[in-house]
Every structure is written in structure tokens, then in C-alpha cells.
């Protein structure tokens, strides 16, 4: 076989298309006669609606229809609760268009459909809504106090969910502790801010009764299921296509957003294609966000620094609604002990309604908050016990021989146990210490101090539960005409390069060039079983499904080729698009094999002629297709992991804090990373670097701000500070590859890795830098210059 493609830095198949402007994102798709939708959105965080007058908007030239809750029929419902959980009572979800009340600035109240977006937006401004504003409380800790204004009168103290998980016997361990450290930490709200906002376009074919929806989603199968059930249509009559999608990062996994139902509805009603292309402001006020959590975490330790128990009690801001259930908080609560052997855990969270944009996963999904809590607590414990920060971690890390390490009693977001399956945690820590230059750092720090500069070293360890089930599938087929291989799976890409890594997996089995493997994802018309892209699961779950499928097609191919070449199957090798018997001149192209395995054929091309020369691959007495055999070289298979597989890594940084401007300059940033076997190291690094940049944003710049009335005050790219190239420091990445025992390829996910530990690492570094200046503490991200200024003044 030609050299193995798994593990090689293969160039991406998709790039030429995207580089030449031939990408086809939703708004690029030409739908003749398309109409445009625009939304009327609530300007109040909480209000009663007394009336909506659409008459002027309806009269406006170019307006085709105006929808409110009163004329959308079966869509005037509370949207589904996607992931139910017993910890929630009467979970609240929003209605496509508000009825009676609004619960956050940006909530959809009416939809205008018009000939173009300009006219639609003008007309949206003509819809007259009469509101009575109500009191609000934006502060998470105030919101749970008695007497605080309620987001939903049904939910006293604004509590959406209250959930406790326990591992081991924490009560007993608390009593045995020789030292307890307590810390309160907070991570603020951010947003995915993919460069392409959310999009949806729909066309209805009344003759066939078929609805086609183009949706910039991470979950086309989910959207199809949702549409079919809410519209009462057979799933086969609904086709959802996620075309090229300009980044997702979790925000696009949630469904249905109101537009995802209303746009198809209008397309059906009006008999014309309709589309809605969200603009950036709408993305800030209308598409889900994540992050705010306040943790009160305690570590119960021996004098040696060995942590014997952990107690964490945190508040999780779920926004005005909780459509995705407690997933984010649950991931945080089950990641709270990080990479450490802490055997006794008590973790409780309360999810709290606030009159803000709903909260669902954003890249990291609770992991950055958990990492920030445990790692800041570890640093504090180290300081209190006078133990070096690397050393305290070394004493607590799970040892190689402890794997698999199960945290009995904790259930992850897939409802399955938390089993850290494999890793070399100590080695990674040692590598981090060497890479950041720990041995030389003290000297460097004091030299800098002599020059009046504040240098600090930051450190954080993280774990990342990845590759969640329940399952994905793969379909692999060798094309009889060209010999190219088509691959389908149910989930979809938003830039991760699935088309290339899946092609590498198939290429290894079938001996074809990576560029001859054509991966088609995200179209429910081509593969209709599966879940979605989230939780760093595509390579793990779809990757293994495709691998299993490719192995089957390989077996079929070898068997058929052996027949044609009159050879023993064990002699047949697949290489460079051919099946051959090495050392002989006997070879046949895969196209010919695929053609020959289809007994009803004409000799319509050279492949078919070549095939006929060898006579049928199924030459025998009896019917050309044996009972139970299928024509062609093709298979479908599925992979369903027993539980999540846990990747991990260590970040370390050297930072300089400018005492005058309070600017943080990252001098050096290193990352040790282990996601098991790497299918494509260049793509893995790309994922880590991209996550890292978002981590830098969350650590130093990005924060969704609301005033006390609940008005977003930075809902644009001028005021919400996404890092440009000038704000993202260089990162040096080193890998370990500890295979996962939980899947045939030995892979773990990488999608979220880069972002998890950045906040904790920089906080650790900034604190270290300012320690000689009085010991300012940094227990909250983003860490802005004014926070540094205030902390220094206070210290």
C-alpha cells in the first residue's frame, strides 16, 4: 500500500474552492425570486406587550407579509426543550414570535417578508409594538435573592435548575482535611461570533410537497427532525442542507431558532423562496451565548498538598430560556476536578434565569469555567502551603497506571459516566515545565524586576471530555465510472476540514489518493442518520464510523478483485487506485472492480470493458447477484462510543504586565496537547491555534455587556473586542499521542482544546507578575487593564 495517510500533514481538499471565491454559503445560493425576512425585536429586557399594530408595515411598498404570533398558526408554540433533565422544573423555552411577554432585548416579536432586505428592514421599523416595561435584575447573585424581579413568574428566585452530583464520600473527607482553600471565581459572558452570522433559506415545491432548507447550522439532521415534527411532515419530505458554513463554535448547534421555523413557514405560505441572513447586531442580541458562571470552590487537602476532596457550588447564567437544558453546567460540573485524582467530590449548581440572550454551548461549553475554577484554586492552595505550582499539580495528577480513571457517581453531558480513558499527565506537565523554561524563569524574573518590569509565569492544566455519543454513521461507495470514492456522514463541517481527515481515513483502507475521496456532509438528502457537530466529536464518532465502513468496502473490493485476478484475497493489495497482485502484472482499477460487481451493465466505457475482459466478478452458476449480495462496492456502518474520551493538555505562559498602562504582553505561550492519535497534525494544530485565539479573547478582551436595564451595550464589532492578529500572541504547541482505548482509531477530539485553559493560564501569570507589588488577585475573566489597575491599587 502507498504511504499511510493517517497522521500525515495532508493539504485540505476543500481549500481551492474556498480560496477562489467558489464557496457556497447560504447567502451565495441563487434562489430566483427569493424574498427576504427581517425581524422586529424587543427593545426591552422584560416587558408586557399590550398590542402589535402591523397595518402600516403591511401597506409599505414591497412588503409581502407581516407575521406575528397571531397569524403563524401551528408555530405559535413554546419551542421544544431539546435535552430534558430531571433537575429542571417546567423548563422555559421561547416562542417563535413573542406572545404576551418579552424576556430579553432582541427577542423576536414579528417577522416582515419583503422583496429585498432593505425594504424588509425598513418595514420592520414600521411595526408598532406597545410595551409595558417590567423590572429586571441582571446580577446573577442578586437574581436568586428573595424579592428579586422574576424573569418567569413560574420560577421563584429565578432558579431554572438545581443539581448536585457526588463522587466518593466527600463529607467524611472534608473532616479529614488538614488545610482548606476557598476561592470565588467568575467567568463572564461571551459569544461565538463566527464570521458568518446565522443564515436560513427555504424553498417549497408544492407539486412534490417537498421543503428544502439551506441552513448555516451544525445540526442539519436535527433541524430536519425539528421541522418535520413541528410542521407535521414526513422526514423524507424535508431536506436540510448545511452548505458551506462560516464557523459555528456551538452557536449554530442549537435549533430551532425562531427563524429556522418562520422562514420555511413563509416559503410554504407564499409559494416563493424566502431567506433570512442575520446581521451582526442581530447575532449579538438574538443568537445564543455562553460563559457566565460564578464558582465557590473549596479544596480539602493534606499538608502535603494532596487534595482529598473538592466542593464546588456554582451559579450558571442560562439567560432568559433554557432550550438546551443543563448541558453547559453539567459539562462544567463534571470537569471540575480537572486532571486530578481527587476521589471525593461534591458539586452543586443552580442555573439561573436572567433577562438576557439564552445560553447554549459556545466552544468550550462549561470547560473553560471549570478549568478556571480548579486551576485558580490549585494556584491558591500552592501559595498557601508554600508548594511550587508545578509540584502541587504533580502530586495530584492522575498517574499513568491509574487509567482508566472513573469518577464514580458523576454523569457527563451524554448521561454516561466520567471515565478519563488514557493519558500521560505527568509527562505532559514535565514537558510544559521544560518548554516554558521553568528552571531559568526565576533568574529572568529578577532581571526583569531590576529593570522595573513585572514578569510572571502562568500555568494551567485542563481536560476535555470529547467525542460524545450517541452515534454517527458513515457511507462509503466506490464510484464505478471514475473510481473515486464518495463518503457521507450525517454531521457537517464549519471549517474543521472534515472532508480531508475523513478522506485520509478512507484513503488508507482503499489505497486511493486523498483528493479522490469526495466527502459530502451536511445534506440530509444524502445521509440521514446521525446527530450533529458539537463537543469535539466529529473525528471521534464520524471518523470511526467511516473507518469501520471503509474496512468493509476494502473487504468487498479485495474479494471481488481476487475473483477477477484469479488470486488469493490475501495476495491482493489496494494501491494508487488499483487492486493488484504485487510482483505480477495482474492489476485492475477500482473503477473496473466497482463496475464488475454490478452485474447489470453495458460496456459503456473502458472500465466496463476492462471488467468484461475478466468476466464477472461473481462468476458462478446461479443468478448474477447472489441472495444477500448487493451490487457495487459500498457499505454503511455506525460507531457508537461507550462514553466520552478525554483529551487533555497543559498551557504555560510568560507574561509582562506594564505597570503604567496595565497592558498584558504575552512574551511566550506554550501548549502541551494530547488528543490521542492525530489524523492530520496540521489540522489539529489549526484547531488548537484557533481555540487559543478565542481563549485569548475570553481571557483579556471579550465580554458581552448589559446595562442595569438589560440593554446590551456592546453589540457590535467596534465595542466587543475580538482579537485581531495583533492581539493574538504566538503559541508553541507540542503533542503527545496517547491513543484512546475507546475507539478503533485511538483518537480523541480537539475542537475545544485550545480555548479551555487560556483564562486560567493568563490569570496565573498576571498574578505571578504582580506578586511583588502587593499580591493582587485575579479571579475573574476577562482581565481588562482597568481590572489590573484596580487590583494593583487595592493590593
Amino acid at each position: 500500500m502507498s504511504t499511510r495517510k493517517f497522521g500525515a500533514p495532508i493539504k485540505r481538499n476543500i481549500d481551492p474552492r474556498l480560496l477562489t471565491g467558489r464557496g457556497a454559503f447560504t447567502d451565495d445560493i441563487n434562489l430566483p425570486g427569493v424574498l427576504h425576512a427581517a425581524f422586529v425585536r424587543s427593545p426591552f429586557a422584560r416587558a408586557r406587550i399590550n398590542g402589535i399594530d402591523t397595518s402600516i408595515a403591511e401597506q409599505a411598498e414591497g412588503v409581502v407579509a407581516v407575521y406575528t404570533c397571531d397569524n403563524i398558526g401551528h408555530l405559535d408554540i413554546e419551542l421544544p426543550l431539546l435535552i430534558p433533565h430531571p433537575s429542571m422544573t417546567k423548563a422555559r423555552t421561547q416562542r417563535p414570535l413573542a406572545r404576551g411577554d418579552v424576556y430579553y432585548v432582541g427577542q423576536t416579536v414579528a417577522m416582515v417578508v419583503a422583496v429585498d432586505r432593505y425594504v424588509a428592514e425598513d418595514a420592520a421599523a414600521l411595526v408598532d409594538v406597545d410595551y409595558d416595561p417590567l423590572d429586571v435584575e441582571l446580577d446573577l447573585e442578586q437574581a436568586i435573592e428573595d424579592g428579586a424581579p422574576l424573569v418567569h413568574p413560574t420560577h421563584p428566585n429565578n432558579i431554572a435548575a438545581d443539581f448536585t452530583q457526588v463522587s466518593g464520600d466527600p463529607e467524611a473527607a472534608f473532616a479529614e482535611a488538614e488545610h482548606v482553600t476557598r476561592i470565588r471565581v467568575q467567568v463572564d459572558r461571551s459569544t461565538a461570533a463566527a464570521m458568518e452570522c446565522r443564515t436560513v433559506a427555504a424553498r417549497y415545491d408544492a407539486t412534490r410537497g417537498e421543503l428544502t432548507v439551506w441552513d448555516g447550522t451544525q445540526a442539519p439532521l436535527g433541524v430536519r427532525g425539528g421541522l418535520a415534527s413541528i410542521f407535521g411532515m414526513d422526514e423524507d419530505k424535508v431536506r436540510v442542507i448545511a452548505p458551506d458554513v462560516g464557523g459555528g463554535f456551538g452557536q449554530k448547534v442549537m435549533f430551532p431558532y425562531p427563524d429556522e421555523l418562520l422562514v420555511p413557514h413563509a416559503a410554504i405560505q407564499l409559494g416563493r423562496p424566502v431567506k433570512y441572513i442575520e446581521d451582526r447586531r442581530e447575532n449579538f442580541i438574538g443568537s445564543n451565548q455562553e460563559r457566565t458562571q460564578i464558582h465557590e470552590i473549596e479544596l480539602f487537602a493534606k499538608k502535603t498538598g494532596e487534595v482529598i476532596a473538592l466542593r464546588d457550588n456554582f451559579l450558571h447564567d442560562t439567560g432568559a430560556f433554557i432550550p438546551y437544558g443543563i448541558a453547559v453546567a453539567q459539562v462544567a460540573s463534571t470537569s471540575i476536578a480537572g486532571p486530578y485524582r481527587i476521589p471525593n467530590i461534591h458539586v452543586r449548581f443552580r442555573a439561573v434565569y436572567t433577562p438576557t440572550v439564552p445560553v447554549t454551548p459556545y466552544r468550550g461549553c462549561g470547560r473553560p469555567q471549570a478549568c478556571f475554577a480548579i486551576e485558580r484554586a490549585m494556584d491558591q492552595l500552592a501559595e498557601e502551603l508554600g508548594i511550587d505550582r508545578f509540584e502541587i499539580r504533580r502530586r495530584n495528577l492522575i498517574r499513568d497506571e491509574d487509567f482508566p480513571y472513573t469518577r464514580e457517581g458523576l454523569l457527563f453531558a451524554d448521561g454516561l459516566r466520567v471515565k478519563l480513558d488514557s493519558g500521560q499527565y505527568l509527562k505532559a506537565l514535565d514537558m510544559a515545565r521544560d518548554a516554558i523554561g521553568w528552571n531559568e524563569f526565576a533568574a529572568m524574573q529578577s532581571r526583569a524586576a531590576d529593570e522595573g518590569k513585572s514578569l510572571g509565569l502562568g500555568l494551567a492544566y485542563y481536560v476535555e471530555g470529547t467525542g460524545l455519543g450517541p452515534y454517527e454513521g458513515g457511507h462509503v461507495k466506490i464510484h464505478p465510472i471514475t473510481g473515486k470514492v464518495y463518503v457521507n456522514t450525517g454531521l457537517t463541517s464549519q471549517g474543521q476540514g472534515h472532508d480531508t481527515v475523513f478522506a485520509q481515513i478512507v484513503s488508507d483502507q482503499l489505497g486511493v489518493k486523498v483528493e479522490d475521496v469526495i466527502v459530502v456532509e451536511g445534506d440530509t438528502g444524502t445521509f440521514e442518520w446521525g446527530v450533529a457537530t458539537f463537543a469535539s466529536r466529529a473525528a471521534v464518532v464520524s471518523g470511526n464510523a467511516i473507518h469501520k465502513t471503509a474496512v468493509k468496502v476494502r473487504e468487498q473490493t479485495i474479494k471481488a478483485a481476487a475473483n477477477m485476478l484469479e488470486a488469493d484475497p490475501l495476495q491482493v493489495v489496494l494501491s494508487d487506485g488499483y487492486a493488484e497482485v504485487p510482483g505480477t502484472n495482474r492489476r485492475v482499477s477500482l473503477a473496473a472492480v466497482a463496475t464488475a460487481t454490478n452485474p447489470l451493465r453495458y460496456a459503456f466505457n473502458s472500465a466496463a470493458q476492462a471488467a468484461t475482459q475478466f468476466a464477472s466478478a461473481s462468476r458462478h452458476d446461479g443468478p448474477p447477484l447472489i441472495d444477500g449480495q448487493h451490487p457495487g462496492l459500498e457499505a454503511t456502518d455506525y460507531f457508537s462510543p461507550e462514553c466520552a474520551t478525554w483529551a487533555y493538555g497543559v498551557h504555560a505562559a510568560i507574561v509582562e504586565v506594564d505597570r503604567e498602562t496595565c497592558r498584558v504582553d504575552v512574551k511566550k505561550y506554550i501548549c502541551i496537547h494530547d488528543c490521542g492519535n492525530m489524523i492530520n497534525p496540521v489540522i489539529v494544530d489549526g484547531q488548537v491555534m484557533g481555540g487559543f485565539a478565542q481563549g485569548i479573547g475570553g481571557a483579556l478582551y471579550e465580554r458581552i455587556e448589559y446595562d442595569t436595564d438589560g440593554n446590551p451595550t456592546n453589540a457590535n464589532f467596534v465595542d466587543f473586542l475580538i482579537p485581531y492578529a495583533t492581539e493574538v500572541p504566538a503559541i508553541e504547541i507540542s503533542h503527545l499521542e496517547t491513543p484512546s482505548p475507546l475507539n478503533p482509531l485511538g483518537v480523541k477530539g480537539v475542537g475545544e482544546a485550545g480555548c479551555i485553559a487560556v483564562g486560567a493560564t493568563l490569570a496565573s501569570g498576571i498574578e505571578d507578575a504582580l506578586r511583588p507589588m502587593g499580591g493582587a488577585k485575579f479571579h475573574k475573566t476577562p482581565i481588562t487593564p482597568s481590572m489590573i489597575f484596580e487590583a494593583m491599587a487595592k493590593a
Binding site: 480560496l19 422583496v115 458551506d244 462560516g246 471549517g495 491555534m689 457590535n716 485550545g754
Partner: protein, 177 residues
Amino acid sequence: MSRHEHLERSIPSTSSDPTAEVTVTINGVTLTRQVSTRMLLSDFIRHGLRLTGTHVGCEHGVCGACTIMIDGRAARSCLTFAVQADGAEIRTIESEEKDDGTLSALQQAFQECHGLQCGYCTPGMIMNIRSHFDSGEELDLSDDGIRELISGNLCRCTGYANIVKAVRRAAELTGRA
């Protein structure tokens, strides 16, 4: 829904906004069109001319996704009305590949260095870099220099490091380094 609902509505096909005549030369082709006077140049290029390689990420002039070249200089097409481009010479990403359909050095370098993930920011990024490459200016190919050069373009996927590499690689490939 009534089967005849769509018949009962008379749906106009275009807005009744006032229009003006605009002549532009785009990627070497000169053409004249009637456009709504308030249409953004980005919308005109994307929907009027169906050159959809130019993307919009914010429509308020910050992200750079909509960057094109107007009369040889990088410009944000979301901050320009189509009518303002009357008489202008415009280049978009669609002009970047070579005449034989192969990738330009800049495009090749992006592929080689994995300088794109979702590819949404990429056309704007490339047009910005192209304008610097073609301006004849001295390029500062240090890390900081390249980061400065691309600091008008947001990318949410790559973390920029590979774009920095791609710029340097493209400079090498074209003898600018």
C-alpha cells in the same frame, strides 16, 4: 393554508427604491447597471453581479471580510454605496486565480500553510494582502510586520499564526521576500 393563497397575493419582483446608472470595471470586465441608490457595494457585487466570493461579516466596517480592491487599494465594500463606485476599477477574489485556472501564489500559500479553516474571512484577507503586494511598498515580513499588515481583518477560526506564515510564504514564492 388555502391552495390559492399565493394567487391572492401579488408579489412585486423588485423594490421601488430610486435607482441610478452605475458603470464599473470589475475584474477586467466593464459593465453598466441600474442600481438602487442605497445599495451597498457589497450587496451589488454579491447579489447584483453574483460574484459571491466577497463576504460580509459585520456590515459596519470592522471585520474586513468584505474587502475588495477599488482603484488598486483595499477597501471595505460594506462601507461604500454601489453608486459611489461609478467609474471605478474593482478587483474581487474572483480575479485572484491565474488565467489557466490554477491558484495564485497567494492562494497556494494559504493552502500550503493551512491559512484558512471555514474560509469566510479568506477572500477579504487575500484582497487586503494583494493590495499590499501590488502596491510596490516595502513589505515588513517580520511576524509583527505581517500581523500589522493583516490587522484590518478578523478571523475567528485560525488564530492567525498560519495566515502570517502564508503571507511570508507567498512573498517567498513571488520573490518579494
